[in-house]
Amino acid sequence: MAAAIILVLVVVGSVAFHVLSPWWWTELASNWSYIDDTLIVTFWITGVVFVAVILFMAWCVFRFRHKEGRQALYEPENKKLEWWLTGLTALGVAAMLAPGLVVWHQFVTVPEDATEVEIVGQQWQWSYRLPGADGKLGTSDTRKVSYDNPLGLEPGDEAGRDDVVIEGGELHLPIGKPVKVLLRSVDVLHDFYVPEFRAKMDMVPGMVTYFWITPTRTGTFDVLCAELCGVGHAYMRGTVVVEEEVAYQAWLEQQQTFEQMTASAD
């Protein structure tokens, strides 16, 4: 009896916690509302299953608890019931998987008109690179990293001369424009994580990874590192500022290009 009541209370408590929880996702600041939607679909389906299964169990514990003279039913299997349950489960799973795959397709398909931004992780700070007037990022090589060339740009590559290099500063993004975020690391794994954007991806030394977003809300957002990268992991912070085009251009003007950087170092 008591056991059945406690099981019911666990269900009621869980649902109440879910509904009343002040801890919920941050307000979205990118185009990935589809991710949030898929998450909500998943919450509903799994929530219903959770409540149904545990309540059924609680009811059995109450209804069929041992009493003098009770005899359990001997029924090794029930084909029909088993196939019904299998079918219904498959349906529920499909209802989550289908939107999931559609959105994943969007997630991995970068729009044609996205501008490229590069983010480079290193223990324990973020650096950024934006294409210059030519709209192209120059090539890079970790072995070329030096004090004057913190991101390891290929000095011989024309396309890289006008690239804007921001070492350890903040990143600004214009609102409403899709960006393809290219990710690189010069030492260990890191992960560029802004909860409000939803999207994230590891940065892996030796390769270039990516994700894409369209910022949809102006503001200043915390950047965290989401992949363990040593003792400074929790301190590897940064900020992203999403702003209107005009403000963005004004900010961009003030940044140094790779050419200016090397020139000032000479």
């Binding site: 059995c60 029924e75 970790t142 004090y147 990874t209």
Partner: protein, 585 residues
């Protein structure tokens, strides 16, 4: 056809292998220390696993101290914190759960439940334990080496794991890798043994489709472990070479502290593939024995046949096979080619179907049962709640795109603790309450058991259920302090403190359990041979605890499946597997 009870006329097949003479110990040392008796080896495995598991439990308190009260325990700095979580995670998964389920329960239950005298290779079985012990000692030694144990996270991702900036890169990581290599060698010896024993040494009449689900779970998990551990083995060897010989299997060109290192050309992602090719099946290596055991607990204590036995067997086998093609769901945001996401999301969600069937069949076994709420039964019920909760959040993380915002947050920590931390641990407790009488001849204290159950079950639920919501909010995992972060409100810190307090209460309840284990050994109520009135063979031994060789002169003969509870027309509400007729005799 389910081979339930073919009746007494059923012809008992002749021996395929003659009954063999076992090695008989000649001294105290060969009887209790260098023992070749699977039951003694099982107890050795279990005690060692519990001992090192206790270390992991204490480490989790230290972690929770820091997370709940970041301003008070200043001695826990980032270095110590990372060492604590790494050792906690690795010990719990490998040295506690894997060792306890396979080395502990596997050794104890396989020969007894299938009606064999012992494992088929008793000597190798003994070696398996001693190598496991060595692995545990090497691991424990890393607490005392210069630089301390590794703090690379239990996933040990390179390049970070072997580079400066990560705690324990001096020698802790080397000891960790060596210990894992030893563990795998020891396990392989034991594992081959379990598989061959199940396939070759079953009693006459014990067909595969009459085996208790416990044996199906342990058997399938062992086969999986034999296939999965080699991936970890090569990963560990390669990383050891990278660390000690300067090879570059996992090491691309790297710049650290302004210096270009000598490494180049390797792939960090390759390690992740190897790790998770082992790591995902590992989840089921822990889960399948738990599935099997819990099926038998529910059936016995609800006095009802397990519902849908054949489905249950096939679900176990199907889950085992499928879990080798889902590993990269741990790597959706690892930077691997994102197109893989489609494949792995599909395979992962397909596994949900056989898994759900198992859950339905457990609760349907309760339906129209005669439920005795004994301590083992309570733990089984607790397992279902926890496992359902953890299994359902797996559908979030398996669905590639939903995983993107949640990966590397506390949501993941909450999910895997529910599904592979707490759920299997509850089964382990239930199993100990269930089989302790067979191992010692005495019952475990029932009241203490119930207090232990309710505190552990409700306590762990209070720890891990709210934790999902911290993850949803965006709180990252593996952060020893959150500092000032704009999106994390003060209330999140309050919740963290609450979770920590729940963790300490749960921890304290385990002391009661340990006390119960020791107290009942001397003072427990005498159990008799079959206190739960169960059908399976281990309860039908001539002596309790069973003697060396298990069965006295005559090996048992099996006439029916393991689930003849409440059979209409039978005299008692259970018919042992070795009983030819319903009425006994």
């Amino acid at each position: 056809m389910v081979e339930r009870s073919l009746g007494p006329a059923d012809i008992v097949p002749p021996f395929e292998v003659e009954d063999v003479e076992l090695y008989h110990p000649k001294s105290w040392l060969t009887k209790y220390v260098f023992s070749q008796d699977a039951k003694i080896i099982a107890i050795q495995y279990s005690l060692t696993a519990l001992a090192i598991g206790l270390v992991a439990l204490v480490l989790s308190w230290l972690v929770r101290l820091q997370l709940g009260f970041p301003d008070y325990f200043t001695f826990i700095d980032a270095t110590l914190y990372y060492q604590f979580i790494t050792m906690h995670g690795m010990i719990m998964v490998i040295y506690l759960l894997t060792a306890l389920f396979l080395g502990g329960f596997g050794n104890y239950l396989i020969p007894l439940m299938i009606g064999a005298r012992d494992m088929v290779f008793p000597y190798v079985n003994m070696l398996s334990y001693w190598i496991y012990l060595l692995a545990v000692l090497v691991l424990a030694a890393s607490f005392f080496t210069p630089g301390g144990p590794t703090g690379a996270g239990w996933t040990l991702y390179p390049p970070q794991a072997i580079l400066a900036g990560t705690p324990g890169q001096e020698s802790g990581i080397v000891l960790m890798l060596v210990s894992l290599i030893l563990f795998i060698i020891g396990f392989t010896m034991g594992g081959l043994n379990y598989v061959v024993t199940v396939l070759q040494a079953r009693a006459r009449g014990m067909t595969l489709m009459r085996m208790p689900l416990t044996i199906w779970g342990i058997f399938t998990a062992t086969v999986m472990a034999l296939l999965a551990f080699p991936a970890l083995f090569v990963g560990a060897v390669m990383m050891l070479f990278d660390k000690t010989l300067g090879t570059s299997f996992f090491m691309p060109a790297i710049v650290q502290g302004g210096e270009v290192m000598a490494y180049g050309g390797g792939s960090p992602i390759l390690f992740q593939h190897l790790f998770w090719f082992f790591g995902h099946p590992e989840v089921y290596i822990v889960a399948l024995p738990a599935f099997g055991i819990v099926s038998d607990l529910i059936s016995t204590h609800a006095r009802r046949n397990i519902f849908g036995y054949r489905m249950m067997v096939w679900a176990i086998v199907f889950i085992g096979a499928l879990s080798f093609v889902v590993w990269a769901h741990h790597m959706y945001v690892s930077g691997m080619n994102p197109s893989f996401g489609f494949f792995f999301a599909v395979t992962t969600l397909i596994i949900a179907v056989p898994t759900a069937i198992k859950v339905y069949n457990w609760v349907l076994t309760l339906w129209r049962g005669d439920i005795h709420l004994t301590t083992p039964m309570l733990f089984a019920l607790g397992f279902i709640v926890t496992f359902v909760s953890g299994g359902l959040t797996g559908l979030f993380l398996g669905n590639a795109v939903v995983d993107v915002p949640l990966s590397d947050t506390m949501f993941v920590v909450a999910h895997f603790h529910m599904v592979m931390g707490v759920a299997p641990i509850l089964v382990i407790f239930g199993a100990i309450y269930h089989w302790y009488p067979k191992m010692t001849g005495r019952m475990l204290g029932e009241t203490m058991g119930k207090v232990h159950f309710w505190t552990t079950f409700l306590g762990t639920y209070a720890i891990f259920f709210p934790m999902h919501y911290l993850g949803l909010l965006g709180v990252p995992r593996r952060y020893h302090e959150l500092g000032v972060t704009s999106f994390i409100p003060d209330s999140a810190h309050t919740l963290n403190a609450f979770i920590s307090i729940a963790a300490f209460i749960v921890g304290a309840a385990q002391i009661l359990f340990l006390f119960n284990l020791v107290w009942s050994w001397f003072r427990g109520r005498p159990a008799g041979g079959n206190p739960w009135r169960a059908t399976t063979l281990e309860w039908q031994t001539p002596e309790t605890p069973p003697a060396h060789g298990n069965w006295g002169k005559e090996l048992p003969v099996v006439y029916r499946w393991a689930y003849d509870y409440s059979v209409p027309g039978a005299k008692l509400d259970f018919v042992p597997q070795n009983q030819p007729t319903l009425s006994g005799g």
